[in-house]
Symmetry: C2
Subunit: 210 residues, 2 copies
């Protein structure tokens, strides 16, 4: 799928409501669970997205559009939110994210970007040359990645609740093979299918599907 | 995290609104994109969740609660939705899912399940003995897995839009190592971090993080 500014904004605009639906008023056990040390909880994800609104996507787009002699992006601090939000509630972060995102998309729309502007380059500290279009596409993908992460982290909190037996990893098959699997293979596949058809078994630590 | 019926219902209740926020009114390129042959689009995911409401979770819970001599579950058809929904709109599926889920949760609440009932067993065709509690936990995990899948499938539609260079897989590092990485490693890590901090690079086919 080719980059499209309107289709990108359509996705970016949804994220606050998606996080609100998934996390608004959610109990602490779900909201604060992680995947282990140095990993994000759903609460952390929302804080990280706020950091992105304040210090990443639009600030970097501004650097590109300024067309200065050195369009180098500021390095991005992935852990800024930890200190910033230590006393905040999830509710207030969800509201803040929605407000920041709405303002940033209003600004983005107001720029009425042309194909020529979308092709302008910036300099990423690690990646090198990045066009404005690639930056905006990455913003979309970044949002979606963190929605997926949030759902995955929540699912993992029920790792023990769905564990039925100390299954042998060799009995697992990827769910996508169900259609063509032999009857014998199917029973192995079912093992995955009850919990998820998207490889969640692997996330939950039942061993890698073969 | 131990199984908790109220906390489970709290998550199950959110899914229709989460899918509505993520997919309601979404353009075809996002809604119909897949990860390849025999994989689900966001449209397919909603159809699959409707199948779950009609033929999986509550019907299996009923089998368990009936305490009959053979509490064996009917096998579940993961592709029932394909024929069923071939002429449907995404909007109508989202509305139907919300209605079915609301009804099923009303029923689930009305059962006022006790710890004793939650421990009652059913017989899964592939997994063997499964308690009602494990079935309900799996329902929660299944929802979350498909939310994650939907966001991932959407992100993959922008695979080419975010591709900057044919990067060497050896330069990738998992984002979770950022905190402890050396300055030299950091530049490799940044490569992941711009697109996602959740392993999206791997999903997008840039090679496995080391």
């Amino acid at each position: 799928m080719d980059f499209d500014l309107d289709l990108s904004i359509d996705v970016l605009e949804r994220s606050p409501a998606t996080f609100r639906a998934l996390l608004g008023g959610l109990g602490e056990p779900w909201a604060r669970g992680t995947e282990g040390p140095e990993t994000f909880s759903p609460f952390d994800v929302v804080g990280h997205l706020i950091d992105g609104e304040e210090t990443d996507w639009i600030p970097r787009a501004r650097i590109i559009l300024a067309r200065g002699p050195d369009p180098r992006f500021e390095p991005y601090d992935r852990f800024r939110h930890r200190v910033r939000n230590s006393n905040r509630s999830l509710e207030s972060l969800l509201a803040e994210f929605a407000e920041l995102r709405a303002g940033n998309l209003e600004l983005l729309r107001s720029w009425k970007l042309t194909a020529r502007e979308l092709a302008l380059p910036g300099e990423h500290p690690g990646l090198g040359r990045v066009t404005l279009q690639q930056l905006l596409a990455a913003w979309v993908v970044h949002d979606l990645g963190h929605i997926a992460q949030t759902a995955r982290v929540m699912a993992k909190q029920y790792r023990d609740a769905v564990r039925i037996c100390p299954c042998s990893p060799t009995t697992w098959r990827p769910a996508r093979k169900v259609a063509s699997a032999s009857p014998q293979q199917r029973s192995g596949t079912e093992r995955v299918a009850i919990f998820s058809s998207v490889g969640l078994a692997r996330w939950l630590g039942y061993g890698s599907p073969q």
